[in-house]
Symmetry: D3
Subunit: 143 residues, 6 copies
Amino acid sequence: MVDITKKEPSLRTAVAHAIVRVGSQATIEAIRNGKVPKGDVFEMSRAAGLLGVKQTALLLPDCHPLPIEFTAIGYALKGLEIHIEVTVKTHYKTGVEVEAMHGASVVALNMYDMLKPIDKNVEICNIRLLTKTGGKSDIRRQA
Amino acid sequence: MVDITKKEPSLRTAVAHAIVRVGSQATIEAIRNGKVPKGDVFEMSRAAGLLGVKQTALLLPDCHPLPIEFTAIGYALKGLEIHIEVTVKTHYKTGVEVEAMHGASVVALNMYDMLKPIDKNVEICNIRLLTKTGGKSDIRRQA
Amino acid sequence: MVDITKKEPSLRTAVAHAIVRVGSQATIEAIRNGKVPKGDVFEMSRAAGLLGVKQTALLLPDCHPLPIEFTAIGYALKGLEIHIEVTVKTHYKTGVEVEAMHGASVVALNMYDMLKPIDKNVEICNIRLLTKTGGKSDIRRQA
Amino acid sequence: MVDITKKEPSLRTAVAHAIVRVGSQATIEAIRNGKVPKGDVFEMSRAAGLLGVKQTALLLPDCHPLPIEFTAIGYALKGLEIHIEVTVKTHYKTGVEVEAMHGASVVALNMYDMLKPIDKNVEICNIRLLTKTGGKSDIRRQA
Amino acid sequence: MVDITKKEPSLRTAVAHAIVRVGSQATIEAIRNGKVPKGDVFEMSRAAGLLGVKQTALLLPDCHPLPIEFTAIGYALKGLEIHIEVTVKTHYKTGVEVEAMHGASVVALNMYDMLKPIDKNVEICNIRLLTKTGGKSDIRRQA
Amino acid sequence: MVDITKKEPSLRTAVAHAIVRVGSQATIEAIRNGKVPKGDVFEMSRAAGLLGVKQTALLLPDCHPLPIEFTAIGYALKGLEIHIEVTVKTHYKTGVEVEAMHGASVVALNMYDMLKPIDKNVEICNIRLLTKTGGKSDIRRQA
């Protein structure tokens, strides 16, 4: 684990992005109309993602435990794709990009888990960092 | 959570696949030659993935807790991509595909976490199920 | 921990009940109309409760870890009260009443957590076992 | 999760209260005299409650993880009721009332778990916040 | 993780042993007379150990998750030593020796944690397996 | 849990030490040459230990949760003994010696778990604190 005892805390933000691709328009309609048997895909996955962000340091050995001050999870539907955006903020000595990416991954996995009874072709693609501010170097990419 | 009280247990297997794409050949060389400052990327990520598989039901609300009987994590290097393959087996009343996909996702995230100090362009792509046997319908796809 | 090595597994079911009392009709309306700022109170609390049921043995020292086969969480609104009903089933050597009660407690606490910004008078009352079948003695009480 | 990046930390305290009602005076005597087969009900439940307070943010999606600086768990016997009082303190940007209530709930559930072999009529009633200081508005209620 | 899909479950038992050595007779007297400020050392450590046994597979990557059917934790005082004995049983396809040893280790660590304010010379020595039955080969050693 | 609300945070360090004794020189050679079937004993155990350090407060009731800023895990082979040294640092109001000792214990247990298929005589001995700085009194002992 990297030694951060000499660093100063500052406001860190990170936005991660994940895409879940489903197999048919019928799946998108089921999600939109609340017809997925396992429940509301957006709200249940948001709950899982909020918890997932907080468990990052318990899953990844080198990750510093830190007091997450804000997490937001947003969705956009584009054709057969569900775009997931996870924003994490904290005042700490390390960045929160892995936390944001872990959150995006848990949201995507939970969608897979809820959708697999009705669609065998769900796939998770492209979990990546969009934005990172507050450390030595900022990162800004296009979604 | 789906009611499985009336189902019979059978041998279930699942193989999930994830790809981590790095930004340069120098990163691949650092991994291969054990020069990544945070440690051995393959072994550390394998440890994280083995633990991740077992924590799936604690992260995903609808997922049944089950006694994993086998997990294997394999790697292949292809150009700038690290291909991750996670195999999970158990005798139980539900499949283990979400466990395998969660394992693949944790391995990929841990690689991202270990590589980010030396490469700003690591990305996780294409977490998907390759094979599933033992339930009502088998699934077999190409890697 | 009670020694259950000589017992035979059988189908066990348990239904637990909890009541959350809110401070005003406005809170009930906010829940019903999806106007609670933190999100959908029923779906978010259901996600928390489903996870909580599975974590019971990690919180209570004497509780046996067991493979939960089914959990359902239902709600009813009665005046200023939200009635929560959690049903748990499994084939195992011990009952699942503590798992059902822990699920009911986590659902209730999550409602408290989501509602406290809009209502200072939320209270959890009456977490109790309604029904238990499958062990030496069945229990059936009125809700 | 509410954005607290702009708030200042201050000393926060919360006291939560729970009542466990048992079915007979014999149960109270068994607890008092250390005759409950599963062990010392007060000490075992205190251990469970201390751990439970620290796991609150891993169970409730919207709850901020925070560094608990103090937890105390007290008991009082009143007729057939065991009164549980959980005090939590920290310097942080959010209150600790949900942590205190979760602690009270875990203590109560653990008592239920330890007492159920000797008393079928144990019930948890009235988990509520007694006192809260340090945020925008203090709360003080009667036990 | 070793592949156990083809093995048959049988009754497995394991007994592990740990020794905590304290720095002075005054510490032993404080424990015996319930004068340790942090609480009852035996009961609190027993609670921690019971939970620790159940968390073994979440801490050790290669360890199979399994349904623990029995755990008992016993103590003996010998001079400046506290002898801890943890017995674990289950019907499963793998042994439970690591679970028993992890339980013994958590009990010992908790004693260290509770005693360090009153004794700077507490040390954990000799965590080892005493007995193991039910697998290919039994092990029996002297305490 | 000791009340630390009035203390000031300062840099705390702790170094703990554990010894794993194996049964034969062949085991040492297998470790050194990467021939242990379950994987690289040093890297896998390091991953387990890094995670273990961060889970200390979830296992020990009285332990304060704290933001670990640095963990390092080192090894030395001496005859049939593997010496494990775990260093933990943080800026906080309490020491990190229990975290360092828990890390050393998890590393040792993981070695036991990985080695038991090839050596029935592995034993954990002598988990103890070597150094502690930053609190009221420093501790320095010989390895």
